[in-house]
Symmetry: C2
């Protein structure tokens, strides 16, 4: 028997505003798409709409850049207020060169600009604003999971995903910032292959793989569909949330 | 209209031996699984069976470690012959600490042990052997694409994939080492969102995203199914092979 996993991007998710509940939007879009959640469904949601629903906006005209932010803005050519926001969301600056500001986000992610987004964020009141990552993406995923369970009766998996650059490869891929109801990291340390040798691959980033695959149909920009339902395959492994995917900086093997 | 992408792992691919042609095995497995290739199919093949079919084995008893290999073996605790093989496949050693040898592969990949695999490689003749990456994974993908086109009449996409560790995240994900017939990298530099702002995400690693999603059903070890067919969605973008995914080391933004 083969194995199947299907990703379906839902058309018809409306623009999300602060305070909007995502679960009813998803349930309505599922119905409009003639689809439904099942026991093995994983709902992959773009970070952007989670942040919007949680009101994670910052108004740039309220931000007074620190001296350090101004210095990094001069180096990178970025808006000093955005740099100040980035610093406020980060523990460490890893790289600052023209056009590039890579930091370690307070939640451990190594990423450009602390994941702060200026593109495609409507600003109805004429003020410039930026969108930060959710305060706690695992908690966001758990809350959406519970809301979907109440609305549909299905205890599905949920992933909050975002696109990340990689150090040695061109192009972004999506990873999982937060999750609930799935084994975000599958740990097979100690397992052996059929010849009795210990497996070389022992930890699999399941949530990141699902987030990456979902992003293919999620798209971005004008054609983006920020909710994708994965269904058909759920590994038998203990549930872990996405904290398990963040490598402690002192165990980083690459530098 | 939503968008759908489905991954199907094919049961019944036999053990691959040097000189075996993969296309007939895939065509037979498709038929046995009641499946078929379509105009938007992408056949994702594990690097391991491509390397086996190309006979990319090295016999450890033929390898005489250099002084540098012996030194790195002492540091890492790895077999000096494997280290010698790793060095022969690499341009640069990025990190050597106990249990870890990260190199820049001759094709530009930054990875552990130059992707050389000792697990799950049967050794009928009683000699220890290791399995190297294909000589040119893009060429392997192109050859498989042509063989599948001749066998089925469908000009499908092909990806040769392997699992990679990441510097700042736990667990492996699959990436694309080689591809043919798809836009491995989608470049949207210059595009704007519906508010007229330039998109922040401008290059998408499509082949890596498909490889990552396929790996969810591909599995590994005893339960592994080394061929996965993705179907339902092919982006409209110019074809590029996987050389486009390797970031030149002098433009690495992270260190």
């Amino acid at each position: 028997m083969g194995r199947r996993l299907c990703f379906e991007a839902l058309a018809g998710i409306p623009e999300v505003r602060p305070g909007d509940a995502l679960a009813p939007m998803i349930v309505a879009a599922l119905a409009a798409n003639g689809s439904a959640l099942g026991h093995d469904s994983i709902v992959v949601v773009a970070q952007k709409i989670v942040s919007k629903s949680e009101g994670r906006f910052a108004w740039l005209d309220e931000i007074v850049p620190s001296a350090k932010a101004q210095e990094l803005a001069d180096i990178t050519g970025k808006d000093a207020r955005l740099v100040e926001l980035t610093l406020s969301e980060s523990n460490r600056v890893l790289r600052a060169v023209p056009g590039v500001l890579i930091v370690r986000h307070r939640l451990g992610y190594v990423m450009a600009n602390a994941g702060i987004d200026m593109s495609n964020v409507p600003d109805e009141v004429g003020r410039e604003r930026a969108l930060l990552l959710p305060l706690d993406p695992d908690a966001s995923a758990a809350a959406l999971r519970e809301a979907l369970r109440l609305a549909t009766g299905q205890a599905v998996g949920v992933i909050v995903s975002d696109s990340f650059g990689r150090p040695w490869r061109n192009g972004v891929v999506n990873v999982a910032l937060g999750s609930a109801g799935i084994p975000a990291l599958i740990d097979r340390r100690g397992d052996t292959d059929r010849h009795g040798r210990t497996l070389q691959i022992t930890q699999t980033a399941f949530a990141d793989a699902v987030a990456a695959g979902a992003a293919v149909v999620m798209g971005e920009g004008d054609e983006g569909m920020p909710v994708v339902v994965a269904s058909g395959f759920m590994p038998a492994a203990p549930e872990t949330d996405c904290r398990a995917l963040v490598r402690p900086i002192d165990t980083d093997l690459f530098q």
